[in-house]
Subunit: 517 residues, 2 copies
C-alpha cells in the first residue's frame, strides 16, 4: 500500500467521503488512489476556487469536512479566496495541497514556492507530511483539527514521494476536541443582565443558527423582552415556516446602528460585537452604542447551543417561542426587478431548500420575501471574498442530493468562479442558479459615494460598469453544459423558476434587472 | 491632493501608465484618482488573475512595469498564480493591494487577513504604506524595485485611509539599480572553456532572448562549435526570419537529457542548470550529465547581453551568425490536429506578431512550424501556473496596440482565467485566440503514466477528462462579447485564422483536436 492509498482509506475511515479536486502531476498518485476507496466521491472543478468553495458548501450542509485536492502553491493561491470565506465562517475543510517530491525541492523549479506562507493566511493547522508511514496519521489529525471546535481549514502539504512511496499505514480516526461547557457563573451573569429590565439584545453567530440554537435563543429573548439578531453573514441559518424568525445585523453601518440603538446589554453567542464591514472616513467602525455593556455568553469553541438552553432555564423561559407562519408571498407580476425576483423566489421556494446567496445588492429584498416561505437553509458569503456562491451551491448539492439548491448570484460575483457551472452539469446537481444581471458592480456605486470619493470621472465609472460588452449568462451556461434561459418578466421568471426547481439537474435563469444603486 | 492622487501622479511620472484593476470598496479613492492622471490607462478585469497576468504580459512587451489594483488578501490570492508566473519569469509588476483603513484593522472584520503572508509568496519587496505624506515615495520605490534587476513583483499594501487622506505629495521617480557588469575574469574563464575543444553548450535565459542577446550568443556558439539552447519556458523569445534560431531545452527530461548528452561544459547566461519540471520515481531531477562542468557567465542581475558581447570578442567570433530564413510552411489541408493547426499558424503568422502560448501538449508542433515564419515574439508559461496565456495576451495587446497578438490556449488552461475574453472585447484588443480543445487534461494523461501510477480506475480517469459535458468555447466567447467560430478542417481553420488576424478586435477560433496523449 502506498502513501496515497493509506491516506485515502484514512480519510474515508475518518468520515471524509467527498473530495473536490483540481489536480496536477504531483497529485497523480492521490488521483490513482481514489478508486481504492469506493466510499470516496471525487468531484472535479475546472478552477481551484470551485473546489475550495464546494468543500465549504459541502461541510455547511453535511456537518463534516470534505477534502480538497490542490496543486502546489499556485493551486492553493487560486483556492485561497474561498478558503478565506471558509475560515471566516468557521467551516471545516481538509485542504490537501500536493507538493514536489522532497528531493526535488532543492532545485527551486518553476512551480515551487512557499506553500506554508500562503496556507498561513487561512490555516492555523498546517503540516507538511514528512514520511509515508506517518502520512495517514497526519491526515487523521488534519481531519480532527478541521472538525474543530471551531471548524477550520486544516492544510496538509503532501510531497509527491511521500504519496507515491510504499509503506503507507492507515490510521484510525482521531477524535476532535469537544466544545467547552460554559460555566454556570457566566450563564448567571448573562441572565442577570437580561433580567435587569434594561434594553438588551442577543446576537447569535455561527454555531447557533440552526433550529436548536434559534429555539433556545428565541425563548430567552421573548421571555426577557430582548431583541434577537443574527450576525450579518451567517454560515448557515435555518429559517422560514416553523422556525423562530430572526433579523440579521444590517450590512450598512447606519442601519446596524439603528438596530443597536439604546442598548445597555449586548449578549454575544459565538459572535463578535458588530463592526462595519468597511471603514468610512470620519465614521466609527465599532457599532455598539456607548454605554452598552458587551457580555460573551459563548465563544467560538464553546457549546453555544448548550449555553443558550442553560440560559433559557436560568431566566425562567418556559413558553415555546413564536415560530414563523407558512405564508409565502403571492407570485409577482410585471417588470423584473430585484424586488419582484425575490418575491418570486419566496413564492415558489420548496420545503427543505438550500439557498446559497451571493446576489449582493439584489438580495436586499430576499429576507422579507422568504421569511414565511417553507423552511429552508440560507448560506451566506461569510468572508466577503466574492466568487463563493456558485461553488458553495455545488458543495451543498453534493452533500444533500435530495434537497433543492438555489444559487442566487450577482453578475459581478458570478464571474469569479463561473467555472462552477461545468461541475454542476457534470455531476447533474439539482441546482437552480438565479443570475441577477444588473450590468454593474452595483455595490461599488454605493460604496464610492459612501467613502466620499465624490469627484468621479469616466475612467473611475468604467471600473464599476459591467456593460460594454454585456455578459450573456445564457450563453456562458450553455457553453458549460447547463440548460439556461432568460426571463422576460416576473410571470415568466416565476414559471421558469418553478419549472427549473421541479426538473432534475442544474438550470440557470438570467434576470436582467436595473441596479438598485 | 489626497494620497491616491499623489500616488497616481507618481506612478505616471515613474513611467507606469497602465493599471490592470479589480477593485473593491477599500480601493475606491484609487479608482476615483484614475481620472486625475490622463496618461494612466485603466483596464478592468472580471477576476484578479486576469489583472495580474495582464500586468505580466504588458511588462514583457513594454519593457516596463504596469500596476495592478487588487482588493485585500482574497483579491491578492486570486491574482497569486499569475504573480507567481511573473516572479518566475522575472517580470516587473507593481502590485497594489488595497487594505482596510489602519484604524479598522483591530476589528478583524470579514475581509481581513494576513496580506503580507500571501504577498511573501511572490514578492521580496513588500511594504505597507503608513502615511499619506510618504505614500508617493513608497510607490516610487516600488516601481524601482519592480524594475529590477532582475524584474520582480513589488507589492505595495495601501490602507484605505492612507489613500483617502489629504496631504499627498507626489514623488520624483527613483532610479532602479543598474545591472552589474560581468568581470573580465569570468568572461576569460568561459572563453577558455569554450575554446577547449570539448563539447560545450550555452544556455540562455530570461534577459538574453531578444535579438541582441541571441545574435551575440549565436556568434559565440558558431565560432566555438558550441550548442545553443534557450530555457524551456522563456519570458520573451524573439524568433523567426532574420533572427538566429535557437532550440529550447525540452520539457520532458528524457528529451532534455538527449540535448545535453556528452557535454563537458555548460555555460549559463541568466539561466539555471536544467532540472526536470516534476520529479519522477527513481529518476534524477538534475539533468546536467556527469562530468559536465557548469559555468555561470551572467547571473540574474548581471548585464547578460553585455557579457555575451564581451564573450564574442574574447573568443574571437567575428562572423555574423546564421539567421533563420523566411520560409513559412505551406497552408495545411485535411483534418484538424495539433500538427495541422500549428502548421496553419506558421503559414499565416504576420510580421511582428506576439504569440502567448499556453497550448500545452498541442504546442509540441509549434516551434518547428514557426521557426521560419516572419519574425515574432513568443511569450511562454514561465511559472507553470496555468491560466496565464489569455491574460498575458491581454497585457501584450495593451502594450503593443499596433502588433497582432495570438493567444494559443488549451481547453483546460483556458478555463482558469476565461474571464480574460471579456476584457479583450471591452478594450477591443487585436487578439486572435486559437482554442485547442482536446477535451482532456492531456498532459496529465502523459504524466499519470510517467509517475508510475499504473492502476487507474474510472474515478481517476474522470479527473483528467474534460468531456461530459463538452466545453463549447464558441458559446463562452460569445457570452463575453468576443466573436467566435469553430473550424471544421485545416483549410477552414487557416482561412478563419487569416481573417481573424486581419480584422480588428478580438476573435476566438475553437479547434477540436484529438489528444496527443
Amino acid at each position: 500500500m502506498n502513501g496515497a492509498q493509506a491516506l485515502m482509506k484514512t480519510l474515508v475511515d475518518s468520515g471524509v467521503t467527498a473530495c473536490f479536486t483540481n489536480p496536477g502531476t504531483s497529485e497523480m498518485h492521490f488521483v490513482a488512489a481514489l478508486d481504492s476507496a469506493p466510499e470516496m466521491r471525487a468531484v472535479l472543478g475546472l478552477f481551484e476556487g470551485v473546489a475550495t468553495g464546494a468543500a465549504d458548501g459541502y461541510a455547511r450542509i453535511a456537518g463534516k469536512p470534505a477534502a480538497t485536492l490542490l496543486h502546489l502553491g499556485p493551486g492553493l493561491g487560486n483556492g485561497l479566496a474561498n478558503l478565506h470565506n471558509a475560515r471566516k465562517g468557521k467551516v471545516p475543510v481538509v485542504n490537501i495541497v500536493g507538493d514536489h517530491a522532497t528531493h526535488h525541492r532543492q532545485y527551486d523549479t518553476q512551480l515551487q514556492s512557499d506553500i506554508d506562507a500562503i496556507a498561513s493566511n487561512v490555516s492555523t493547522w498546517i503540516r507538511t507530511s514528512q514520511s509515508t508511514s506517518e502520512l495517514a496519521k497526519d491526515v487523521a489529525e488534519a481531519v480532527a483539527a478541521a472538525s474543530g471546535p471551531p471548524g477550520q481549514v486544516a492544510t496538509l502539504v503532501l510531497p509527491a514521494d511521500v504519496s507515491w512511496s510504499e509503506g503507507g499505514v492507515p490510521s484510525p480516526p482521531v477524535t476532535p476536541t469537544p466544545r467547552s461547557t460554559v460555566s454556570a457563573d457566566v450563564i448567571d451573569q448573562v441572565a442577570k443582565a437580561l433580567r435587569s429590565g434594561e434594553p438588551a439584545a442577543i446576537l447569535l453567530g455561527c454555531s447557533t443558527l440552526l433550529e436548536p440554537g434559534l429555539v433556545a435563543a428565541a425563548k430567552v429573548a421573548e421571555s426577557c423582552g430582548a431583541r434577537l439578531y443574527a450576525e450579518t453573514f451567517p454560515t448557515r441559518l435555518t429559517r422560514g415556516a416553523g422556525v423562530p424568525a430572526i433579523d440579521r445585523i444590517a450590512y450598512l453601518p447606519d442601519m446596524a446602528k439603528l438596530q443597536l440603538e439604546g442598548l445597555r446589554h449586548l449578549i454575544l453567542v459565538d459572535a463578535k460585537a458588530p463592526v462595519s464591514f468597511f471603514a468610512y472616513p470620519g465614521q466609527d467602525s465599532y457599532l455598539v452604542p456607548e454605554g452598552c455593556q458587551v457580555h460573551e455568553l459563548a465563544g467560538v469553541s464553546d457549546d453555544s447551543v448548550g449555553a443558550l438552553v442553560a440560559l433559557a432555564e436560568a431566566v425562567g423561559a418556559q413558553a415555546d417561542p413564536t415560530l414563523a407562519a407558512l405564508a409565502p408571498p403571492p407570485r409577482p407580476t410585471g417588470e423584473l426587478t430585484a424586488m419582484s425576483v425575490c418575491q418570486a423566489i419566496g413564492a415558489v421556494l420548496p420545503e427543505g431548500a438550500i439557498i446559497s446567496d451571493e446576489s449582493q445588492t439584489c438580495s436586499l429584498f430576499l429576507p422579507g420575501n422568504t421569511s414565511t416561505s417553507p423552511r429552508h437553509d440560507l448560506l451566506a458569503l461569510t468572508g466577503g471574498a466574492i466568487g463563493q456562491g456558485l461553488p458553495v451551491a455545488v458543495g451543498a448539492a453534493v452533500a444533500a442530493p435530495d434537497r433543492p439548491v438555489l444559487a442566487l448570484e450577482a453578475d459581478g460575483s458570478a464571474m469569479y468562479t463561473i467555472q462552477s457551472l461545468w461541475t454542476m452539469a457534470r455531476e447533474e446537481l439539482d441546482i437552480t442558479v438565479v443570475l441577477f444581471n444588473n450590468r454593474s458592480y452595483s455595490i461599488l456605486n454605493l460604496e464610492l459615494n459612501r467613502v466620499g470619493a465624490t469627484e468621479v470621472g469616466p475612467k473611475a465609472k468604467a471600473q464599476l460598469d459591467l456593460s460594454n460588452p454585456d455578459l450573456d449568462f445564457v450563453a456562458l451556461a450553455e457553453g458549460m453544459g447547463v440548460p439556461a434561459s432568460r426571463a422576460v418578466d416576473a410571470e415568466d421568471f416565476t414559471a421558469k423558476l418553478a419549472a427549473a426547481i421541479a426538473a432534475p439537474g442544474p438550470h440557470l435563469i438570467e434576470v436582467v434587472v436595473p441596479p438598485i444603486f
